[in-house]
């Protein structure tokens, strides 16, 4: 069933119109900002120690989309990042690998070649990332190119302008078409992450609506941010998205993944997100297939903490390898 037919079915309408989408999205329960932020803060006070900390650190490493999205990216830098993904900590081969390496589409082939069949996926951003301000044929070509270059996952951006002007149908159609463009010639498909750029949506009500709209249109993942807009992935925003995927499963039986991206730099922060995943969406989501961190410097902090748990002492930044020092 295509996305539009499924949406008509879920909404109980004969024709999928803007007004049908509006009344559906606007009937979702509101989010009280104060209460939402208080709940996120209280989840952040969980004390994760010893064995559970070690477990959470390894899980967080395995959930990272190790990311470089800079104008200055080169094949050399991407190969370095891939080497890091394949061997996060040369001093401990038992260290888990990140889930994916995330790059711009033109470097997807470089990443694919470096990662091969290691099991570490290639994720490519597409659809005129990060602003999304391009015509649809360009966005689709962008997506198709990345898939053709070997991307296992596509991270698209929604048209925030359309969303904020209430043109939900346009947002829906774009997501649905990009999802189609993720289909490979032989029929398999790249998984689609839909970036809502929550920093530009501003309200939690908008985040909830954009989440449901993305899921309705066929998102495999809903993702907070491009990393180019501040604020990026906050815990309360992720909380609202975790509630959305939980309720979506109640409504449809289907699971959708969640990816906070941007601004998560410390192990302590990452563990707070995992606590939220566990207590809000449920432990089913505690799997790299259903939850990701879009991050770069987070990996090395997790590795530092991991070494500390093993040895009892902090080493230092020079004792974890760094293949993506920022130019800025």
């Amino acid at each position: 069933m295509d996305a539009t037919a499924r949406a008509r079915d879920l909404l109980g309408v004969t024709r999928l119109s803007d007004s049908a989408l509006t009344s559906w999205l606007h009937s979702l329960p509101g989010v009280d900002q104060v209460g939402c932020e208080a709940r996120a803060a209280s989840l952040g006070t969980r004390s994760i120690k010893t064995t559970s900390k070690a477990w959470a650190i390894d899980l967080a490493i395995s959930m990272i989309d190790l990311t470089t999205l800079e104008g200055a990216d080169t094949p050399g830098k991407v190969r370095g990042l891939c080497a890091k993904a394949l061997t996060p900590d040369p001093t401990d081969p038992a260290t888990p690998r990140p889930a994916a390496v995330c790059v711009y589409g033109d470097l997807a082939a470089v990443a694919k070649k470096a990662l091969g069949s290691s099991g570490v996926n290639v994720a490519a951003v597409a659809t005129a990332f990060p602003s999304g301000r391009a015509l649809m044929p360009v966005k689709l070509a962008d997506t198709e190119d990345a898939v053709q270059a070997g991307a296992d996952e596509i991270d698209m951006v929604i048209d925030r302008g359309a969303f904020l002007s209430g043109d939900y149908l346009t947002v829906f159609r774009e997501i649905a078409q990009v999802a189609q463009a993720c289909v490979r010639p032989e029929g398999s498909r790249a998984r689609l992450k839909v970036i809502m750029e929550t920093g530009e949506l501003v309200t939690y009500d908008n985040v909830r609506r954009a989440s449901w709209l993305s899921m309705l249109a066929g998102a495999d993942f809903i993702k907070t941010s491009t990393g180019k807009v501040s604020p990026a992935a906050t815990l309360p925003v992720t909380l609202v998205m975790l509630e959305a995927v939980r309720d979506w499963r109640d409504a449809t039986g289907e699971m959708v993944g969640v990816k906070p991206a941007g601004g998560i730099r410390t192990s302590k922060d990452a563990v707070k997100f995992l606590v939220a995943v566990s207590e809000v969406a449920g432990d089913d989501w505690l799997d790299p297939y259903w939850f990701r961190f879009g991050a770069s410097s987070l990996l090395n902090d997790l590795l530092l903490q991991r070494q500390k748990l093993a040895t009892g002492a902090y080493s230092g930044a020079d004792y974890v390898t760094d293949d993506s020092p920022s130019l800025y």
Partner: protein, 482 residues
């Protein structure tokens, strides 16, 4: 599938030094009782005896009141507001400095989770002293009336649910307005008050300004009946409050009473549901439901009742019940065997009367006093569990159809301490708040406290207000009044 098991994360007990036995804090020093007996304070999570505490005799209370009178006449009643404020600021800072010690001790003696004593009880207690410290030299400008003056010696009797916080609610305004105090902490939770005595010594508070006498009902009665007490402040059950009101009838003693409650937490169909569920949980499972303003009756609009019940039960599945000192514990121990029996009896009555009982099925520790977070659905106004204060982690769910029905049901109780409203509609919040006969009405939140905000009840929930400018009234005489 992985599961996130939280390893134990206990707060260290070593910050607290509990003495084997305690005397009474009278006239600035710990003294032996004259004719009093001893009783034990236990840790309700383990049933371990923590310390032996003195049950003050009538003679002890008499000594305490005499010390308070001397301090009132000699020092405190004539001290300038600026100087009283300095002492209060000092006490507030000491509470903050020793906050970890107080939090751990409170959790050990009371059974409440450390995250609550650490994040709510102790910071709020310090905040009450800071707030009232600021008032001490500004009473003339508080709009209380002309020439606000202290009343004299104040007798205060406080409950076991928030031992240190209730002490702060009572002691801070009394001292700020120039009164001296004889206070009795509850018999099951005397230890934080006794530690507070050390803070008073550290702060160099003049002897006799605050006297702390431990004991049970008889000690409380001795305070209430003492002829040289000018004012009484009590927080506790409505039954005891009525006894106090009878005892002082016909005397010159003034009183403020903060008594029981059976608050309605009202959820409309346009509520922010996820936050409403949090508010319901916080309303009744905060502090094991040992909260006089707990949202113990959930009134939910019938059209969303099933949805709310489903979400609520799922949420209760993630509540962590157990060791109060574990930083991840959400619900701690029931304060005493007697309270556990009362909760058990009332919940049995709920089942017998036909309400449907559900609990979250969590494992409970083998020793100590515990009760699972419990929800009754299909409850009617006539059921005992909808009328009587359970004072435990037990929620009664009732439904309503219209705002008018919600108001009628919410007000259909002899109590009137607090209420909660959950709706995205601002005009409805204002209309409801106007109709509800409750001292505190929370909108899209619950169990939020602040020293600047007055707190108190309607009807059988008591009279007088504590906190805010209103709370000062209870401790001053103005104009020509004597």
């Amino acid at each position: 599938m992985a599961t996130f098991e939280y390893a134990p994360a206990p707060e260290s007990r070593s910050v607290v030094d509990i003495r084997p036995s305690y005397g009474l804090f009278i006239d600035g020093a710990f003294t032996e009782s004259q004719g009093g007996s001893a009783f034990k304070s236990v840790n309700p999570a383990t049933e371990e005896v923590l310390a032996e505490v003195t049950a003050a005799s009538e003679a002890d209370v008499d000594r305490a009141v005499a010390a308070a009178r001397r301090a009132y006449q000699g020092v405190w009643g004539r001290m300038s507001g600026t100087d009283r404020g300095k002492y209060l600021f000092r006490i507030a800072r000491l509470l903050q400095e020793r906050s970890r010690e107080f939090a751990v001790l409170e959790s050990i003696d009371n059974g409440k989770p450390i995250k609550e004593s650490r994040d709510v009880d102790v910071p709020l207690a310090a905040a009450h002293f800071f707030y009232h410290a600021g008032w001490a030299d500004k009473l003339e400008y508080a709009g209380l009336g002309t020439d606000p003056r202290p009343l004299g010696v104040v007798g205060q009797v406080i409950p076991w649910n928030f031992p240190l916080l209730m002490l702060a609610w009572k002691v801070a305004p009394a001292l700020a307005t120039g009164n001296t105090v004889v206070i009795k902490p509850a018999e099951t939770t005397p230890l934080s008050a006794l530690l507070f005595a050390e803070v008073l010594q550290q702060a160099d508070l003049p002897p006799g300004v605050v006297n702390i006498v431990t004991g049970a009902g008889a000690t409380g009665q001795a305070i209430v009946d003492h002829p040289d007490i000018d004012k009484l402040a009590f927080t506790g059950s409505t039954g005891v409050g009525k006894m106090i009101a009878r005892s002082i009838a016909g005397t010159r003693k003034k009183a403020t009473l903060e008594l029981g409650g059976k608050a309605a937490n009202i959820v409309f169909d346009d509520a922010p549901l996820d936050q409403a569920v949090e508010g319901i949980v916080n309303g009744i499972f905060f502090n094991q439901g040992h909260v006089c303003c707990a949202g113990s009756r959930l009134l939910v609009q019938e059209s969303i009742a099933e949805e709310v019940e489903r979400r609520l039960k799922r949420r209760l599945g993630t509540l962590r019940v157990g060791d109060p000192l574990d930083k991840n514990t959400d619900v701690g121990a029931i304060n005493s065997q007697a309270q556990l029996q009362r909760i058990t009896e009332l919940t049995a009555a709920g089942e017998a009367e036909g309400a449907e009982r559900w609990d979250n099925g969590c494992e409970l520790p083998a020793k100590g006093f515990w009760f699972r977070p419990t929800v009754f659905t299909g409850v009617s106004q006539t059921h005992r569990i909808a009328q009587e204060e359970i004072f435990g982690p037990v929620l009664s769910v009732l439904t309503f159809r219209t705002p008018h029905e919600a108001v009628a049901k919410a007000n259909n109780t002899p109590y009137g301490l607090s209420a909660g409203i959950w709706t995205e509609k601002g005009s409805r919040i204002l209309w409801m708040a106007d109709q509800l006969r409750a001292g505190v009405v929370w909108a899209n939140t619950f169990n939020k406290f602040d020293p600047t905000s007055p707190f108190g009840g309607y009807k059988e929930s008591g009279y007088g207000r504590e906190g805010g400018r209103h709370g000062l009234y209870a401790y001053v005489a103005t104009g020509d009044a004597k």
